[in-house]
């Protein structure tokens, strides 16, 4: 029943590995850049706030597939040489996902009342101590469910990298399908794999959300 899958399992799993790698780097860069974007979005300095806000609004209002596509085809014109599809995809994902992560960080930073930090300062704690022991742990706990959810979305989004010919999971499945012509079986397999990973992820997110609600953090 799964003959086409089993015959090509090594090739398919190689594609899945690319998907995982792409997800890993997209999350690493997207979350790090997102933390900065979030800071920029609450900045009181107009020369930080406005450019960052424009960047966020611009990217959140165009489809990801266009970002990947344009980045891959426009960069060589600007840079003069063509980029490796994997690297191009990683960069596209980082700049795109950072806007979404940025909004999660912004909400997390803003969820902390001014009086809570004032309370910490009034016990003599320094800014660094207040941030380390009070603000960051609380903001992180509050953001965790949304961060996990957005990570799942990023994982799913990586399949869009097929438009620039990156041999990730979906692309390789489609190559196999061209030879085997077993679309339902092959893409059914892809769906099952994605589902298992995302379902586990959303359960984890849910767990932290309920935990947060119980302890009054959310």
């Amino acid at each position: 029943m799964f003959d086409a899958v089993t015959r090509n399992i090594t090739f398919l799993m190689g594609g899945f590995l690319v998907t995982l790698e792409l997800t890993f780097f997209a999350l690493l860069g997207g979350i790090a850049l997102g933390a900065l974007v979030g800071l920029g979005r609450i900045s009181k300095r107009p020369w930080i706030y406005y450019p960052v806000t424009m960047y966020v609004n611009f990217l959140r209002n165009i489809p990801l597939i266009l970002v990947i596509f344009w980045f891959y085809f426009v960069m060589p014109i600007i840079a003069g040489s063509s980029l490796d599809p994997f690297l191009s995809a990683v960069i596209s994902f980082i700049i795109f996902e950072a806007t979404y992560f940025g909004e999660i960080f912004r909400a997390g930073y803003q969820s902390i009342s001014k009086d809570l930090s004032a309370a910490a300062y009034s016990t003599g704690m320094t800014y660094a101590q207040t941030a380390r022991y009070v603000l960051v742990p609380i903001a992180f706990r509050r953001m965790l469910p949304s961060l996990i959810t957005q990570s799942i979305v990023t994982f799913q989004d990586t399949s869009l990298a097929f438009v620039i010919g990156l041999q990730e999971f979906v692309r390789r499945t489609s190559i196999v399908d061209n030879l085997e012509v077993r679309s339902i079986q092959l893409f059914g397999f892809v769906a099952v794999v994605f589902f298992i990973f995302c379902f586990i992820g959303s359960k984890i997110s849910r767990h932290f959300e309920e935990k947060g609600r119980k302890t009054g953090l959310l």
Binding site: S113, D115, L116, A118, A119, A120, Y121, S122, T123, G124, M125, T126, Q129, Y133, V134, P137, I138, R141, K214, T215, G216, L217
Partner: protein, 240 residues
């Protein structure tokens, strides 16, 4: 001693404090009242450097807050503050809330800080809540933990910013009792509150603020029985 000399403060164009003068001697309890927006909370925040002021000077035990060399963190170790909405750290137990600053700022051992915290919880009447998280405590219990958290730093002064106005009526007394005991033990206190029963029992001085100015000052009897200004009379009519 806290000396507030001619302090004025603006939020943009809006003047929140105008030429405020006041001296609080050690061991005194001062009650600050007045309508909302009159600058009471802002004044407290200026005293421990949480808010800057633009004119005048505040001197705490001889150290001026206007002096750029003054270490505000150091200064705040000696001035505890209690907030209207408790502001406990929600991710820590009552005990951890209390021990955090002594351990990080005073560098006390976990054991010493824990011991002190238990003494304080005993003093505010909830030693059995040491391991409870703020979400599982009532408002009155949370506020008592907040008071214990401030006291753990062994401050010379305590400031209270409307400590009972977010509480259900039946919980107000348990918090006020703790405050009354503190005042009677000789703690120097600045309390923004409309609890006139508390003021009568322990206030050495009451000041009434309106539009960022101290409009009236006096003892409880003087202020309560014979307010000099029209504004204070109106205010007392409203809260009593």
């Amino acid at each position: 001693m806290i000396e507030i000399k001619n302090v004025s403060k603006w939020f943009g164009d809006f003047q929140v404090l105008t030429d405020v003068n006041e001296t609080i001697e050690r061991g005194q309890t001062m009650v600050i009242c007045g309508p909302s927006g009159s600058g009471k909370s802002t004044l407290l925040r200026c005293v421990n450097g949480l808010e800057p002021y633009q004119k005048g000077e505040i001197v705490v035990d001889g150290v001026s807050l206007s002096d750029p060399k003054t270490n505000l963190y150091k200064l705040r170790e000696n001035i505890g503050m209690v907030f209207q909405r408790f502001e406990l750290y929600p991710h820590m137990t009552a005990l951890q809330n209390i021990t955090l600053a002594p351990m990080k700022v005073r560098k006390w051992s976990k054991q010493k800080a824990g011991q002190k915290a238990m003494e304080l919880l005993e003093r505010v009447g909830i030693p059995d809540k040491a391991d409870a998280y703020p979400a599982n405590l009532s408002g009155g219990q949370q506020q008592r933990v907040a008071i214990a958290r401030s006291l753990a730093m062994e401050p010379r002064y305590m400031m209270f910013d409307e400590p009972t106005s977010a509480l259900d009526p039946e919980m107000i007394k348990e918090v006020l009792d703790v405050m009354v005991n503190l005042a009677k033990e000789g703690m120097t206190m600045l309390c923004v509150t409309h609890e006139m029963g508390f003021a009568r029992e322990v206030a050495d001085e009451i000041i009434f603020m309106d539009f960022g100015k101290i409009v009236e000052r006096g003892t409880y009897e003087g202020f309560f029985n014979n307010p000099k200004s029209e504004r204070a009379r109106e205010f007392l009519d409203q809260i009593l």
